[in-house]
Amino acid sequence: MTTQPSPAQNTSTAHQYTADTVENAAATPETEQPYAALGVKPDEYDRIREILGRRPTSSELAMYSVMWSEHCSYKSSKVHLKQFGEKAPEVDFLLVGPGENAGVVDVGGDLAVTFKIESHNHPSYVEPYQGAATGVGGIVRDILTMGARPIAVMDPLRFGAADAPDTHRVLPGVVRGIGGYGNSLGLPNIGGEVVFDPCYAGNPLVNALAVGVMKKSEIKLAQAHGPGNKVVLFGARTGGDGIGGASVLASATFDDGRPSKRPSVQVGDPFMEKVLIECCLEIFAEDLVVGIQDLGAAGLSCATTELAAAGMVSAGVGGMDVQLDLAPLRDATLVPEEILMSESQERMMAVVTPANVERFFELCEKWDVTATVIGTVTDTGRLRMTWHGATIVDVDPRTLAHQGPVYHRPYHRPDWQDGLQADTPDSLSRPKTGEELRETVLRLLASPNLADKRWVLEQYDHRVRGNTVLAHGEDSGMLRLDEESNLGIALATDGNGRYTKLDPYTGAQLALAEAYRNVAATGARPLAVTDCLNFGSPEDPEVMWQFAEATRGLADACLVLGTPVTGGNVSFYNQTQRSASSAGGPGSQAIHPTPIVGVLGVIDDVTRRIRLAFEQDGDILLLLGDTRDEFGGSEWAHVVHGHLGGLPPKVDLERERLLAEVLIAGSRDGMLSAAHDLSDGGLIQAIVESALRGGRGARVVLPETVLDQVNGDPFVALFSESAGRAIVAVPRSEELRFTDMCRFRGLPVARIGVVDGDAVEVQGHFSLPLDELRRAHTRTFPALFG
């Protein structure tokens, strides 16, 4: 039994509306069309006319405007993103690569994992709760549409200065939105970051990652096949949410004082998405769909064109006819152009054989999900849409989905880059005495970026589904996939905007290195990468240079580490124009280039996972890797001196790979009590975090081997942010075996102390009781956000 809405609900009540049909368009080539207001450039408009051989109908123009927007077409980034494919390492576990809704990797045990990260930055600035909530909803649907059960989410977040008034407007709303939506979906939130920097004021970054699991044989693709098959729109009804949000918000910067062009934001209903998930999974279990696509940015325009185009490309033949007036509406006054651009949430589109339609609808009915047949797959090679019988769209869907403009945006290295790199932190005054060092530890520990984040994290459910092995407060989020075999996966996200501003190529590589290191520190083997590239305006050649360098760096690093990019997202226009001239100099209004990298790893046995907490008095503390005097972009330079300059830490990918191998081997063979990677705040920050988490102190003695590397300066040993390092705690009985393994493999290892007592003591310099450390660590967020 098909659910067809009554005609009255779908007749537009805008009585003045007359459909601009194909016939009409062909007959009236001179009609002025508001393409500029829709974000379509004159040359793009000419191209559309050329493609169609006539002017587009207003519905077609709406579709081109959203599908060819930056957000949907990646027109400025495509030429650079190609590298991820061209330089992809040869691996045998990549089941679905970039280009689909999400990448899929084989994790063994007959299981496949799909994961991806996306941004919802601008909407979160406009309406923090709903922006963040719908960001979570959108990425979860991308995972669902691959045929997977979504099993977890993560959220890398960036905000302006912690004490800025606007941060107080944005942060609580974003956190409540992520919690409100994710918790209601029953998805554990297992990781992410909260980072503050003035550069993000006005342009917060809300990136959302989702991960799902399915059997390898159950992967679904977004392709419409089989002429005669039905096209079903199901989920929420279509309303006026975010009309033009995709093409306008994400393709234009926020301007001070000017009203936003399309004020309607998307509003999410997590309950609807939860039942949609359960409904879809039952539909998948009975293998009732030929293809499936979720409706995200550009809603119906995107779903129909992508399904049709992908079908045509993969099968050589295809097409789709759609009766747009059959789409169930929440708002009866919507006209076709608006329906096509609507970004109402919680909607999916499936291609179903006629034989399966009845059972498909039965399952929708069981979960109270609205479902409507709105079209049919054809072999015409065209996407045709009618409105009450009149043809309003007749296009080759590939021109919309695949043949959007490709820009070769000009780029050049900023002339201030040399000056920025020359302005090293070497001359900044450094703490020398034990008292000064002690104070610096406390000051950094209490700074917003390093402070305890439980004010945020306790608003997220990290337990639901009962498979969370590690979550916030550990180096990675780890999930058990199989209760019998204990197969598991681990995920970590990282991305340091300051490092990337100093050197985009290296900064992007460091983001990958850190996420890779984080996964390995918990005992999982890094496999694959997803990325969310957050940058300023691509029309600014300096920003474009940052983008080109960062993508080049990331692609090169993925090749060396053997971890392919499986999919990701680009967010441009994170920039606020304060003057008519384009941004320039270190005071530029663009955000720091912030490539967020997510790494997925696999662990054969989750019971072997390694926490970062010091759990056992007497365990020996070892520092792995080399330490150098490297403070460019460091937390210390930022917090104490407000300084950003110099070069980021050197990246040595071979060293990262070796370190990861040692950590994984150590955990697998039971040699490690704890492991924690070193990053922001350096060695002492890592030691303090491990001590606080385990409730056990440490007696640290900086050894000659380490001090020799840093000119004998304990400050450098404790706070430098050199990459490729980790600390481990090993039981006394395992120390020799472990250090032998390190030496045998060529990984520098130095004994730096022992787990003991209730203070973190650095011999000869200072002692900090755990209570005092805990107070400094946990005071900041409640004081800031109440």
Binding site: A8, Q9, R330, D331, A332, T333
Partner: protein
């Protein structure tokens, strides 16, 4: 068509942290002398048939059984006398009950 409004508020003895949060926020916006704020819910129900006592009784029953948790909430029911044409975004049907955004009851101290 009878249009009934049901206001649901927490009983006075129930602590209302949402109302308190609103009350705390008002001085920051420059509003002084706010003695108390309580937050509740308002439902607008359209019933087929005339606006008579029977309609009111039906609405009261709806409120008692579903709209209010009488353990912690109290309600009052009345006909909607205000004309409100702007809210007709969704299709009208025989009996539509839709909860709207919470309304705040604000008690202000008379200016001294």
């Amino acid at each position: 068509m009878a249009r009934v409004v049901v206001d649901v508020m927490l009983k006075p003895e129930i602590l209302d942290p949402q109302g308190q949060a609103v009350q705390r926020a008002l001085p920051r916006l420059g509003f002084d002398g706010i003695v108390d704020v309580r937050q509740g819910k308002r439902f607008e129900i359209e019933l087929a048939g005339p606006a008579d006592d029977a309609a009111l009784a039906r609405a009261r029953e709806i409120a008692e059984r579903l709209l209010a948790n009488t353990v912690i909430e109290q309600f009052d029911v009345r006909f909607d006398t205000a004309l409100d044409s702007a809210s007709a975004a969704s299709p009208a049907s025989a009996a539509t009950a839709h909860g709207t955004a919470p309304s705040a009851a604000v008690t202000e101290q008379a200016a001294s």
